[in-house]
Symmetry: C2
Subunit: 375 residues, 2 copies
């Protein structure tokens, strides 16, 4: 891991200008002079404000950020290139009034994030006595923009991945029979925070024995036992960016059955990572993993998709799933995480976060996969 | 804290039947034979399934739970009184097909949770060649049902509160000048998990000096300094239920200014807690705190509402805010958290989670508020 402080990747102000300019280009194509951004992580992406509540209205020239009084100080300190407006009434009222006064004729909104109830509130407030603006969902526009990571974002995810791998290595010596799953999860998350992370990007999974056959098991009070598989799915958020990594261990001398499962998943994972390159369709990446497991007769036990994008959110575009035709752009960051799950016995999943670039895939979660059994 | 294991409050199966029956009563009043429940925490409330994705369709007699293959095993193990249906296609497709086959004429949906995009997907899939069912938002129905906690829920929140208070007491001796905020946050969250909690109910806030004037500051790498206020806002989720507590400390011998702020907030908080009783309007509870701070000339520095419900979510109904006329039902659990924030100087907030019952308010976060300065 880098010895530099974790948050010294400073995003230049110009970066936020560029992001808003790219969004404006897309809006112009859709003939939308304005867009209402309501998803907090997208507000952060476009102007740097990191509060849980706020509304960003991006217009042809300016960006305006409405916040309630809890967030006024924070918004003034954090926002880059947006005018901060404090509102003591509901934000939909304040924004609606502004839209009426400015006679905005058409605006985009985030249909995949805004709830039906909030949408009708905004629409109602923007109407006044006229019929109000024409509203049009911008669909996945923000997700598409965020799919391509710039060098600053890639570096932040690299550091989140390095931190995740480092805490996993630190906790490895504590993995032994008799230890409760939740103690190991607590250790992992504690060390993340002590290393400067905001915290886990998701609730850390430690799932042992039959529980490892639940792809989304949570860490429980169950104690690890010898002769069992244990899945660790762990990832930190550091300076707003996530990483995601899974390792599987066997406690004891691996049986033939455990070995066959492990080696099949490890080979499928490795082959898929090596196959990643800009332009590959997300579904083709999924197919590499699925075909590798099919050759081992394990396809039926691989019950989820192969991976997902990682960035400001731990699950974002693209989805590496069956038939998905999205070409992976250069600069995308995705997980590769095939797994097999045998009910009543256990499961194996191996996952890395990977940067997709022309020069070849870069694994951003550098924790060893061998040895995978603790005898 | 109870010496019993934290998760031995077993919800009887009949409880889930009762919850569904109460929802059905409300639906009958609205002439809705079916309701589509899509918010995960409400799915848990109604049938015990705790996955992040699933769709529950509650009908006049049966409840059906659609999940994707990741969650099949877990849903079969956890669901109480709902038929589990595994779907390998999008859940909206599977549910839509079922609605068409069953010729469902009208159904409710969660307009305050469902996104515009998901809603149109479900509506499209349910249509087929006919005009499809009539859709009607059930508004805040689920929130209203969940506002009243039964004895099992109250006991779980009581334990989450006891755990939260206990870890705060454990970490208190580490609070001293030179310690980074994020180390203390890490300690608090680590001890939560080691004590059996799922984890923090929200990102733990440790905000010192001028940062304590940000009502929603996050723990940063800033080191605590003598002669400053420090706000700790902390809460665990234990066995699915949250607690929420805030304490403020002063490092050193308190100055007159710090003392005036602290004592004013402490008195306002105490008076508000003591005033809570079933039937009191939420806005009246807010007014008690606001008037107490007005008498001290501090009303302008109290920039948020007085509290919120706590349960399966850390922020739920009711909202103890200005003018809210919701009567607090017996069995509701709310926070009381007045605060004052002085830009450039610091802030004081004091918060407890409180059970509202006829016999008088019960504070569920039993950590001392005195001494509040560490000299």
């Amino acid at each position: 891991m880098s010895s530099e402080p974790p948050n010294d990747v400073v995003f230049p102000d110009a970066l936020f200008d560029q992001r808003r300019a790219r969004l404006r280009e897309r809006l112009e194509q859709a003939r939308l002079p304005y867009v209402l951004v309501t998803k907090p992580v997208d507000i952060f992406y476009l102007c740097g404000f990191k509060g849980s509540t706020g509304v960003l209205l991006l217009g042809p020239r300016r960006a305006r950020l409405w916040v309630d009084p809890r967030y006024t100080l924070q918004a003034r300190e954090q926002s880059r290139g947006a005018d901060v407006i404090e509102s003591r009434e509901a934000l939909s009222k304040a924004v609606g009034a502004w839209l009426r006064r400015a006679r905005v004729a058409a605006l985009g909104y985030q249909g995949a994030h805004l709830t039906c109830a909030d949408f009708s509130r905004f629409r109602q407030e923007a109407k006044g006595k006229s019929s109000g603006p024409r509203w049009k969902s911008i669909g996945a526009t923000m997700d598409e923009l965020r799919m391509v990571k710039d060098q600053w974002e890639a570096e932040r995810i690299r550091r989140a991945g390095a931190l995740t791998a480092a805490v996993f290595r630190e906790v490895l010596p504590m993995v032994k029979p008799g230890v409760p799953e939740c103690d190991l999860a607590a250790e992992l998350e504690y060390r993340m925070k002590r290393s400067g992370a905001e915290g886990p990007a998701f609730e850390t999974i430690v799932a042992s024995g039959p529980r490892s056959a639940w792809p989304h098991a949570r860490a429980s009070g169950r104690c690890l036992q010898g002769g069992e598989l244990v899945i660790f799915d762990v990832g930190a958020i550091l300076a707003n960016y996530a990483a995601d990594m899974t390792r599987t261990l066997y406690l004891g001398t691996a049986t033939g059955r455990a070995r066959r499962l492990y080696e099949s998943v490890a080979a499928a994972q490795q082959e898929t990572v090596q196959g990643l390159r800009p332009g590959l369709q997300a579904g083709q990446a999924d197919a590499i993993a699925r075909e590798a497991l099919t050759r081992k007769g394990l396809a039926d036990f691989f019950t989820h998709s192969t991976g997902h994008g990682v960035g400001l959110e731990v699950h974002e575009r693209p989805r590496l799933g069956r038939g998905d035709q999205t070409p992976l752009p250069a600069g995308s960051v995705v997980t590769v995480e095939p797994g097999v799950y045998v009910e009543g016995y256990g499961g194996v999943r191996i996952e890395d976060t990977v940067l997709v670039v022309e020069s070849g895939p870069e694994v951003l979660t550098p924790a060893a996969k061998e040895p995978w059994f603790i005898s």
